[in-house]
């Protein structure tokens, strides 16, 4: 995309000098992309804070916010944000100033950076990575550093407790979480999220979750995701009835908001990742977008029309976001329903239930792949089944299997 931009700039009179400095274009383009993602994610986070309050309100027989921004309190997140910005920013006397200040941003970055590798629709990704799954897991795992630093640097015993719990909990839950993520990766034969999602194209019967192993894995994945993002019933690092506020005890104002946003970012990230890996990504349960585009081509629109691709991608992105929001709502529902587990019970849940179950699912998936397709990648099986028909199809509408297979072969 940046290269297209450079070519385009070369043609515009007066911008030639920018096109010569390729790195400027790359930098500017990167900033634009990050701004877009940040806008999307931050909007979602703002909506989530409002939604959390509304959902908790409804569950608890209350109304939730009703004052700011009309009847449904739409502007509540803005009011909250403004209030947090106006709050006094306190660094405790016993705190390690630099680390204390750095921790919230580290935490937020770790939750946000994985979005750069997360595709929202085919091609709509900041940095297409063949190892996107690995990248997201690796960067997402850094979140724990922010929390540990916050707990250590606060100079408060409660914060320290929160940090130690976070360390124990998140590091443990990353093992089953990683195993759960490997299951769809094995099924797809690639770590490229775009390809994983595109393999699930068509009706919802093509989704990975239809596979019984993947279905079971999805539930383990959701448990681990809830635990990995410190959400109830696994919200021990910030257990307010035991540790006051855990690692966030000494934070106020904007730094506290960074932790808060980081939590929602991470929740949304894991929900989106789960949607891509298990629930078809941007493919709806019924391939309406494909029909629409197909219909438009029948009416005479060129198949590679930018507008058609844009509409298809936009619908796909909406699909994915709806799935992510549903995942987040599930986590909120759990939070407002269940009591909190104890630290030893959290570890038991992880080591005694999640890890063995995830291992069984992993081995089961491997076995089923071996038995069903002799260990070959899914597209290889597909190609063997219908080679001539697929070619014809590709000729006709320019979309479909072969282009996808060639990309598949690259990774």
């Amino acid at each position: 995309m940046a290269q297209t931009l450079i070519n385009w700039l070369k043609e515009i009179y007066g911008f030639h000098w920018i096109a010569d400095q390729a790195w400027v274009v790359y930098l500017l383009w990167g900033l634009v992309q990050v701004a877009l993602i940040l806008a999307l994610v931050m909007t979602c986070v703002a909506v989530y804070t409002w939604m959390e309050r509304k959902i908790s309100g409804r569950i608890q027989d209350r109304l939730g916010p009703t004052r700011v921004g009309g009847r449904f309190g739409w502007l509540q997140p803005a009011a909250d944000g403004l209030k947090l910005l106006c709050k006094e920013d306190i660094v405790p006397a016993g705190a390690d100033g630099f680390l204390f200040r750095a921790a919230p941003y580290l935490n937020f970055c770790a939750a946000f950076v994985p979005y750069l590798a997360l595709p929202f629709a085919p091609g709509w990704v900041v940095q297409p990575l063949d190892s996107a799954v690995f990248f997201i897991l690796a960067i997402g795992g850094l979140e724990v550093f922010g929390v540990i630093l916050a707990g250590y640097a606060s100079g408060s015993k409660w914060s320290l407790y929160g940090a130690m719990r976070e360390a124990a909990q998140v590091v443990s839950f990353e093992i089953p979480l990683g195993m759960c993520i490997v299951v769809p990766v094995l099924m797809a034969g690639t770590m490229n999220l775009t390809n994983i999602a595109q393999q699930q194209q068509g009706w919802c019967t093509n989704w990975n979750i239809i596979n019984p192993f993947a279905l079971a894995t999805f539930f383990i994945y959701m448990v681990c995701a809830t635990a990995g993002t410190n959400r109830a019933p696994f919200d021990l690092p910030e257990a307010e009835s035991e540790l006051v506020a855990g690692f966030m005890t000494e934070y106020s104002g904007f730094r506290w908001a960074m932790f808060f946003m980081g939590e929602y970012c991470a929740m949304f990230l894991l929900a989106l990742l789960g949607a891509i890996l298990f629930c078809g990504g941007w493919n709806g349960p019924v391939p309406i977008a494909t029909w629409l585009i197909h219909g438009a081509t029948l009416l005479g629109a060129p198949a590679d029309s930018l507008w058609l691709v844009f509409i298809g991608n936009f619908l796909g992105m909406c699909n994915l976001i709806v799935k992510g929001v549903l995942g987040v709502i599930f986590m909120m529902w759990l939070r407002w329903t269940l009591p909190r587990l104890r630290i030893d019970q959290v570890m038991t849940t992880c080591l005694k239930y999640c890890v063995p179950l995830a291992s069984i699912m992993l081995v089961g998936t491997m076995a089923s792949i071996f038995i069903l397709r002799g260990g070959r990648l899914p597209h290889a099986v597909e190609a063997e089944k219908t080679p001539p028909k697929q070619d014809r199809q590709t000729e006709r509408d320019g979309r479909g299997g072969s282009d996808f297979n060639s990309r598949e072969g690259a990774c």
């Binding site: 027989d61 006051v244 329903t337 630290i343």
Partner: protein, 401 residues
């Protein structure tokens, strides 16, 4: 200096290098008021716990020695502010015992009615806050929603939402207003299904059971030794309730009322309602049982209220005025314990014949109940401390007086 059972005040100087001294409170979300717990912890494990009290001391007893009994009634409101009616009742009955006053039937029914309503309100706060201590927000709000209805009833009755001063030596301040009985009946009807919801979200919730069963086990012997009373005592399986076993001055109030004392005797709770069975993990005397006893007591209180409503509906008697504001007291002393929601609340009044008592002494139930906390928390995890303290259901206004 021996480390075993060292005075926890000195623990700070006796800390092993891998141990940490943590102050839980007085500003802490789950110490139920201004209680300060000093914990000696080794990682997540609590070695020693020492409750520090006195942050809410308001010299209630000394004030009682400077005011006449009726003037002191509002101060009893502030003892257990979650069950002010029961505090008023304890004080009034103690004074009435000194005076040899015999209440009329209507007065008795009224007192049973408001005291049991307040017991429900108090147990609702206990149950809701206990959920909150364990990280479950929703039951807390549900409990407070129901409690609000009781408070509205009380507000209509006496104008106050928490500090009622309704029951006072020699009577009550005012009779029921028109239609109050019907509104109380409506409340009971609405409240009944909520109990099942609370059982679903708390009592029989798997995580709740894991957090409370076999935690903070209080043996019957220990409960008696420490002077625990109320649901804490009955949670340990001791069948003792002053409403049935108390002094005649108190029990005659409940004459003609049918109710059961909730305690597990011979491995069985005395109820035939379809309430969740005791989970296999639960041990008699643990946090789960203490919670369960409260939940079942709420049902018994509802039973008592229904009977009181019926009796009051038939009764057309006109209430007499309470004793005069500065009525001279009989010389002598009287001590009476009553069954408040949190345990046995004792009031002692000593008089030399003047309108103002010579000495007032209050026995707090929460104080004794809290005293077992150190024993129960030894060797548990930090997360269990709120679970144990919450299950004891203490109110600091009553402990510090």
């Amino acid at each position: 200096m021996p480390v075993e059972r060292v005075d926890p005040d000195l623990v700070e100087f006796d800390l092993r290098s891998d141990e940490m001294l943590v102050n839980m409170g007085p500003q802490h979300p789950s110490t139920h008021g201004v209680l300060r717990l000093v914990l000696r912890t080794d990682g997540e494990v609590v070695g020693d716990l020492k409750p520090n009290i006195g942050y809410l001391h308001r010299c209630a007893e000394k004030i009682g020695e400077n005011l006449s009994p009726r003037q002191f009634t509002p101060y009893t409101d502030r003892l257990d502010y979650l069950a002010s009616m029961n505090m008023n009742l304890g004080w009034s009955l103690a004074v009435e015992k000194l005076l040899g006053f015999v209440p009329s039937p209507r007065l008795n029914h009224l007192r049973v009615l408001v005291c049991e309503l307040n017991r429900i309100a108090s147990h609702l706060v206990a149950a809701g806050c206990y959920g909150l201590d364990l990280g479950s927000f929703t039951p807390f709000v549900w409990c407070f929603r129901e409690r609000e209805k009781i408070l509205l009833l009380f507000e209509e009755l006496c104008g106050a939402r928490l500090t009622y001063s309704y029951i006072t030596p020699g009577g009550v301040t005012t009779d029921l207003s028109k239609g109050w009985l019907a509104r109380c009946e409506t409340f009971l009807r609405e409240f009944e299904p909520v109990i099942d919801e609370l059982h679903a979200t708390l009592t029989s919730n798997a995580i709740f059971i894991r957090r409370t069963a076999n935690i903070g086990v209080l043996s019957p012997q220990m409960a008696v030794d420490y002077g625990c009373t109320g649901p804490v005592l009955r949670g340990s399986g001791i069948d003792w309730d002053l409403r049935r076993d108390g002094e005649p001055v108190y029990t005659r109030m409940y004459e003609g009322y049918q109710f059961e004392v909730i305690a597990q005797v011979n491995g069985k709770y005395p109820h035939d309602c379809p309430y969740p069975a005791v989970p296999t993990e639960a041990v008699l005397g643990d946090c789960w049982h203490r919670f369960y006893v409260r939940m079942l007591e709420v049902v018994q209180s509802m039973k008592l209220i229904r009977q009181a409503l019926e009796k009051l509906g038939k009764n057309t008697e006109v209430l007499a005025e309470p004793i005069k504001l500065r009525q001279k007291l009989t010389a002598g002393s009287a001590y009476l314990e009553t069954e408040a929601p949190k345990g046995q609340m004792g009031f002692m009044v000593v008089s030399d014949g003047t309108p103002v008592p010579w000495r007032v002494r209050i026995r707090s139930s929460s104080f004794c109940n809290l005293s077992v906390a150190a024993e129960l928390c030894r060797g548990c995890l930090i997360a269990d401390v709120p679970a144990v303290i919450g299950s004891l259901d203490i109110v600091l206004g009553e402990i510090d007086r």
